[in-house]
């Protein structure tokens, strides 16, 4: 499958627009039908959580926000890259600081852990052109779960 890229610039409408893209993927069968439905939902969840992070916390300074999402189907999963021109986050530091076991019934702080749980080969890096890129794979190789004590 070829790479599919979508670009966005308005954080206020970003989430609705991206979910409209998701609907189009399904209607136009852009993603291979052999992929398990749950893999696609985990992909959507990981993208949504990262975009929610961008909308709520990203600092674009005085730049016009530029956010792109690129996906490519693999044999048993989907590869995804999300690039933006914000100042970036200390994602690796936050994930290291967050214990895998979090408080019982937490109200906040689950988003990054959900992304981590849903994905493999999670990587976040600063690119050379004032951009940042989150990359990951969602695959059928595992049954992910997030350890929330009840």
């Amino acid at each position: 499958m070829e790479y599919i890229t979508h670009r966005f610039s308005d954080p206020a409408t970003l989430i609705d627009r991206v979910h409209t893209v998701f609907e189009n993927w399904e209607e136009k069968e852009s993603l291979p039908g052999c992929l398990d439905e749950d893999i696609v939902h985990r992909l959507k969840l990981a993208i949504h959580e990262w975009l929610a992070n961008l909308v709520q916390h990203a600092d674009f300074r005085d730049r016009r926000p530029e956010i792109s999402i690129t996906v490519r189907a693999l044999r048993n999963g989907i590869e995804c890259a999300i690039e933006d021109n914000s100042e970036g986050f200390d994602l690796n530091g936050q994930l290291t600081a967050k214990p895998d076991v979090i408080d019982a019934f937490p109200e906040r702080g689950m988003g990054l852990l959900m992304i981590k749980a849903c994905t493999e080969h999670l990587d976040y890096e600063e690119l050379t052109n004032m951009r940042h890129r989150l990359q990951f794979i969602v695959s059928s190789d595992r049954d992910p779960w997030l350890n929330i004590p009840f």
Binding site: L45, A52, F105, R108
Partner: protein, 117 residues
Amino acid sequence: MTNTTMSFSIDTVTQETVTVKIGKALDFRNAADFKTTCQEQVQSGARNFILDFSETGILDSTGLGSIFSLYRQVSPLNGQVVFASVSRPVQVVVQLTRTYKVFRQFPSVEAAREALP
């Protein structure tokens, strides 16, 4: 493009039990509205909440956190929070977080109504 963060509709089943129709999304954009809506219901005497996810395509971590908040509110009052008509995207979050251990699930709102006091 549709706005997925409309307000929540409430259906009173009994004095202590209400159904909350979640709609298309419960996420960081409307989680505060959900909490306010549920708090008003608790103040009016509701203890048991049936969350209708039949049309829900988005449940994110903040949305789930607002449900946890509701659970913490009604548990000391011997109340319950249950899920009904859980859509596949919501089921993926339920499985990921293992919240089926806490929130009973019913195939329909009617089945949940019959099971709750």
